[in-house]
């Protein structure tokens, strides 16, 4: 589709209100072509008439079969339509020459690609004509020819599309919330492009951040107040003891202060994790196009956790596939994923004496992926807990996990990052035999 755009008007929400007068879709091209054919027919109508009479006369005299004459006439008309006249050809070249300014030369497709917000162009029948890269990376498959209301099914989106197509309004903006896979709030503008193109455009503006700040406060209070109460209560209890019965007992004082220090450290970690989760939820969608060398990331995670592995007398074994191991993604976020998983493997798999880190290519999933697995040989996770361990603050057994310095948020963060990467986490475990956490990162 090579579309010419001649003007771009930025409206309030950055909507390209006009993608150009010469923009033409398949229908438009067909219309133009029909107009051209008619003009050509009109130009040589006398010539055609004479030729037709000649053919009919010839067939009458030469005793040809009845259908030869109509065939010949059809051939004549077709030839007149297809062959452009010299003058017309000149005029077409001239038009192209006159349009050679920098803006009209810009194709609408390139223009759409340069817009960083998701943008979808559709026609009268609500069929998608073009979706830019941002739209495809956020909403997935948006091939040309797909029906728009089948993809955007939310009631308010259906109303918006219907209204715009009915022509009752020229342009309209609504707020639309996408709950899954990650909650996003969009301000969606639909406008008619006009200029006889019969095309419409839909632009999504991500408003998640503003909405999130409100939500974050509520979530933070709900999560933090509950989780902070336990360490705070214990600190308050120890302060009371230190001022009362243990006032003159140096050994007890030392012990209590140590416990209080541990509790404050735990609270600090909790706040860090809650903030990092909230920050992740606020960040807009991933920028498409950046690729991460997984071998390098995993290698540096193993290096950074070497002291932890050494403390636990754990051997970290590597099992990496040959060749390049790259996947699209954000390096820092993936680093955090592997760091959390390896830290867990080291903490909970201490009894096993070793942790195996493997990277392999796989085509078992819905699309080809690279699988990174952290396998430990510790006590494992009971079957009924496996589906739930990525929930916030979910703990398998409070008594045994409390001494491990966890906040109950590590796997929630992992899951959140992976959802943003369109990746999956699978967990396999058998009690007494250890656990394997596998990250399936799609390679395209």
């Amino acid at each position: 589709m090579l579309l010419g755009a001649s003007a771009l008007v930025q409206s309030e929400f950055g909507v390209p209100a006009s993608l150009g007068a010469r923009m033409s879709d398949v229908n438009g091209q067909r219309q133009n072509w029909g107009r051209l054919a008619l003009a050509r027919l009109r130009a040589c109508r006398w010539l055609l008439a004479v030729a037709a009479i000649a053919v009919i006369a010839a067939s009458a005299f030469a005793d040809l079969s009845a259908f030869v004459a109509p065939l010949a006439i059809i051939a004549l008309v077709a030839a007149a339509v297809v062959l452009p006249q010299p003058a017309e050809r000149l005029a077409m070249d001239g038009a192209a020459f006159a349009e050679a300014g920098p803006l009209p030369q810009l194709s609408a497709e390139n223009l759409a690609a340069a817009v960083t917000d998701p943008l979808i162009v559709f026609d009268r029948t609500a069929t998608i004509i073009h979706a830019n890269a941002a739209a495809s990376s956020i909403f997935g498959n948006l091939a040309a020819g797909m029906s728009l209301p089948l993809k955007f099914r939310a009631p308010e989106m259906q109303v918006l599309i219907d209204e715009i197509l009915a022509g009752s309004v020229w342009s309209r903006t609504i707020d639309h919330i996408d709950k899954l896979p990650v909650e996003r709030v969009y301000r969606v503008s639909a406008s008619a492009i006009g200029h006889g193109t019969g095309l419409y455009v839909l632009v999504f503006k991500d408003q998640s951040e503003a909405r999130r700040i409100d939500r974050m406060r509520a979530d933070f209070i709900a999560n933090a107040s509950h989780e902070m109460r336990t360490p705070l209560a214990s600190i308050a209890g120890f302060i009371e003891t230190l001022r009362g019965p243990a006032r003159n007992d140096p050994a007890a004082r030392e012990q209590f202060l140590q416990i209080m220090q541990n509790q404050t450290k735990r609270m600090a970690r909790l706040i860090d994790d809650l903030l990092s989760l909230s920050r992740l939820e606020m960040k807009p969608f991933l920028r498409p196009g950046t690729r991460v060398d997984l071998r390098e990331v995993v290698e540096s995670v193993i290096d950074s956790l070497a002291p932890l592995a050494k403390d636990g007398a754990l051997a970290v074994e590597r099992d990496f596939a040959e060749g390049p191991l790259e996947a699209p993604g954000d390096r820092d976020e993936l680093y955090q994923v592997f760091e959390n998983l390896l830290e867990n493997a080291c903490k909970y798999g201490q009894a096993g004496g070793r942790v195996i880190v493997s990277i392999a290519r796989s085509d078992k999933g819905p699309e080809p992926s690279i699988d990174v697995t952290m396998r430990d040989f510790g006590p494992g996770i009971a079957e009924e807990h496996i589906p739930r361990v990525t929930e916030r603050f979910y703990r398998v057994e409070v008594e045994t996990t409390r001494p491990q310095k966890g906040t109950g948020l590590g796997l929630s963060i992992v899951k959140h990052i992976l959802t943003r990467h369109n990746a999956r986490l699978s967990i396999e475990s058998e009690l007494g035999k250890g656990a394997a956490f596998t990250v399936h990162l799609p390679t395209n």
């Binding site: 997935g140 209301p149 089948l150 009924e384």
Partner: protein
């Protein structure tokens, strides 16, 4: 996409049916979302809205049924068109059931709100609903794109939903045994969890219908699966003292 017919009104009618399915789907997704949100936030107002919204889906199903049967009578469809129309009837029935299930969850909001349960239980229900909604969304996306090659993964998701439901079931039983005062709200939550799990099953049904519409073949036979709640027994001695 569909190949064109000589009578363009026929194409229009087929298109209208799939557009109505999409609208019903969007409506059903929204009802499930809001029902679970109402349950978690104990929002009786939102719950009432969900209960009222169910009428839209009932009406949608009746309209699609009428239109589809009229279309079969009028156009005598063959092959893919026939599958498309029969499929539309089946999908709209599944979506209508999804709406009923969401309504059922919403109806229980007031009863659950009386005795507030630990937040972890609601997180579990939320996570279960997220899985079911993701499945419904993916399936309806396939209905739009017609790329059935990815559809078999819907079943993997169904396994996840079953595992999650089994885990919730166990947790709810534990709470009930700990304190009989929990029984009322936990029983309601148990039904909510069951309803959400059923939504996942309807999504799987829709996936199978779409596969049939596009390929003309039934989806390959399913391996045996299902939730394991039928075998859960919790002994009183196993409870933490």
């Amino acid at each position: 996409m569909q190949s064109l017919h000589i009578v363009s009104a026929y194409d229009e009618e087929l298109k209208y049916l799939s557009k109505r399915i999409a609208a019903m789907g969007g409506h059903a997704e929204r009802m499930v979302e809001q029902a679970v949100a109402a349950l978690v936030a104990a929002d009786a107002e939102l719950a009432r809205k969900v209960v009222g919204d169910d009428a839209v889906l009932d009406e949608g199903q009746r309209e699609i049924d009428d239109k589809a049967i009229l279309l079969i009578a009028k156009r005598q469809p063959m092959a893919k068109d026939l599958r498309e129309i029969v499929g539309v009837i089946r999908i709209s029935a599944d979506l209508e059931r999804v709406g009923d299930l969401a309504k059922n969850v919403a109806k229980r909001v007031a009863s659950v709100a009386d005795g507030r349960q630990p937040t972890s239980l609601f997180r579990g229900i939320e996570a279960l609903a997220d899985l079911a909604l993701t499945q419904l969304k993916e399936v309806l996306d396939v209905y739009a794109s017609r790329s059935v090659d990815t559809i078999s993964f819907v079943r993997d998701r169904d396994d996840q939903i079953d595992a999650m439901y089994t885990s919730l079931f166990r947790e709810l039983l534990t709470y009930m045994m700990e304190d009989p005062r929990n029984i009322t709200s936990c029983t309601h939550l148990l039904f909510c969890a069951k309803n959400i799990e059923r939504i996942g099953d309807h999504a799987t049904n829709i996936a199978e219908t779409i596969y049939y519409i596009v390929t003309g073949e039934q989806m390959p036979a399913e391996r045996p699966k299902g939730d394991k709640t039928d075998r859960i027994v919790i002994q009183a001695e196993a409870l933490p003292k």
